[in-house]
């Protein structure tokens, strides 16, 4: 446990702090996409409210694809990944910690910006709360599932396009349930069922993704 905290968690946090500009890019992308929508569609409050949740979630998925690649890319190319694998620690545990740090630094800031986004897209308070909950449950799922695909494509030149092709279909159920939860909130309907489904998907991913990531990374090394 100490090994993971001192060797991986603190390292990745230090690296994230050093490379903050690189981290800020996906976030800026997300903010810009969402800012463009009211300008492009027109400031009609009803329309914005209707498309708002979908826009925020699509932007989050697209920006996560941008952010995802850096998860193992540097470690693969500079050889750190080889050193992790020979460290005697379980690769699945290392991968889980790396995904956690990745989520903390690339998705948690999104939660800080989300009131601003809600304002842009004219979301009601109920919708905003539902959006926050879906983001909190759904973005770790993006990180975990995305990391499997990153592990598989990390050794490829121009793996980015392939990554998008692999991941976007997988994220569709999440998108459907997340936006449907916010839509229900807009109509003052309960949305616990949608949250529960996203939560269940997250649990499944938490239990199995680290092993899949470890296996994908091993395949990439071979």
């Amino acid at each position: 446990m100490n090994t993971l905290i001192n060797g991986i968690f603190k390292r990745d946090m230090a690296l994230a702090f050093r490379q903050r500009s690189e981290l800020a890019q996906p976030l800026m992308f997300l903010l810009m996409v969402i800012t463009l929508f009211p300008l492009g569609i027109g400031p009609g409050p009803v329309t914005l409210q209707k498309i708002g949740p979908g826009v925020i979630w699509i932007a989050a998925i697209l920006s996560s694809l941008l952010a995802m690649e850096r998860l193992f890319r540097d470690d693969f190319w500079d050889g750190s990944l080889e050193q992790y694998m020979l460290s005697g620690q379980s690769v699945a545990a290392i991968a889980a910690v790396k995904v956690l740090v990745h989520w903390l630094v690339s998705f948690l800031p999104l939660a800080l910006f989300s009131p601003l986004l809600a304002l842009f897209l004219n979301l009601t308070v109920d919708m905003y709360i539902a959006l926050m909950l879906t983001l909190l449950l759904g973005t770790p799922l993006l990180s975990l599932v995305g990391a499997i695909a990153v592990g598989l494509t990390v050794g490829l030149q121009r793996g980015g396009v392939l990554l998008a092709l692999l991941l976007i279909p997988v994220f569709i159920p999440l998108l459907i349930f997340a936006t449907s939860a916010v839509d229900s909130a807009a109509l003052q309907l309960p949305y616990r069922a949608q949250l529960a489904i996203i939560g269940a998907m997250l649990m499944l991913a938490m239990a199995s993704a680290p092993f899949a990531i470890a296996y994908a990374l091993k395949v990439s090394q071979n």
């Binding site: 001192n6 060797g7 690296l15 050093r18 080889e82 020979l86 071979n222």
Partner: protein, 209 residues
């Protein structure tokens, strides 16, 4: 036989046979100098020995036990310095070493790390991001692990790349001392090992079409 034994290893990469039925044993107190032209499979063999890649057939034994069963114990006794140095350019030399030691469950002593870096001629560069250093200095940071972790087996892939003559001599001397202390080393190099490295066994791979 004690040590790391390779038993009938065969490696095939992209439909090209690199080597077949290769058997040898790396015992404590032995330095194996792996020689061969580019593309002969030296790196592939070293990666198979570390366990990063799997051989097409054949197996590895550590002290008469299949390596897969004692992988954790082997990793504790292994330092691998690969083609890729395994150091992050955005972190400083000290950070790289501290995190690496933590990952490998090795006690990290800052004082000792400063001394090792000083011995490797990196005084004053300990807290500079590694990508600002020259290629040879980066290589020295990677090699400083050989002074920090106590391990029997060293698997070194082209450790002399980018090192100047002083650096090569320093590393060869350290290798000789390690072998004298019952360490086991397998290394590749395109330049012949000098007398500083002490006695060694040669293992030659041929380039096959």
């Amino acid at each position: 036989m004690a040590g790391l034994a390779a038993d009938n290893l065969t490696c095939i990469k992209r439909d090209r046979v690199l080597f077949t039925d290769l058997s040898f044993c790396l015992s404590p107190g032995q330095l194996i100098y792996l020689r061969g032209p580019n593309g002969a499979g030296k790196t592939s063999l070293l990666r198979i020995l570390t366990g990063l890649s799997a051989p097409e057939s054949g197996q590895l034994m550590l002290n008469e036990e299949p390596l897969d069963k004692v992988r954790d114990r082997f990793n504790q006794q292994l330092i691998y310095v690969g083609h890729k140095a395994g150091i992050n350019g955005a972190l400083t030399a000290m950070e790289n070493l501290r995190f690496w030691c933590a990952q490998h469950s090795t006690d990290f002593n800052a004082q000792q790390a400063y001394e090792v870096l000083a011995r490797l001629g990196l005084v004053g560069l300990e807290d500079v991001p590694v990508r600002m250093l020259s290629a040879g200095q980066q290589r020295r940071v990677a090699l400083s692990r050989l002074w920090l972790k106590q391990a029997i087996y060293w698997i070194l892939d082209e450790p002399f790349t980018a090192l100047d003559t002083d650096g090569i001599e320093l590393l060869e001397t350290h290798m000789r001392e390690h072998v004298a202390n019952q360490g086991a080393i397998i290394t590749t190099s395109h330049q012949p090992l000098s007398k500083h490295a002490g006695p060694f066994t040669e293992l030659a791979l041929e380039y096959r079409l």
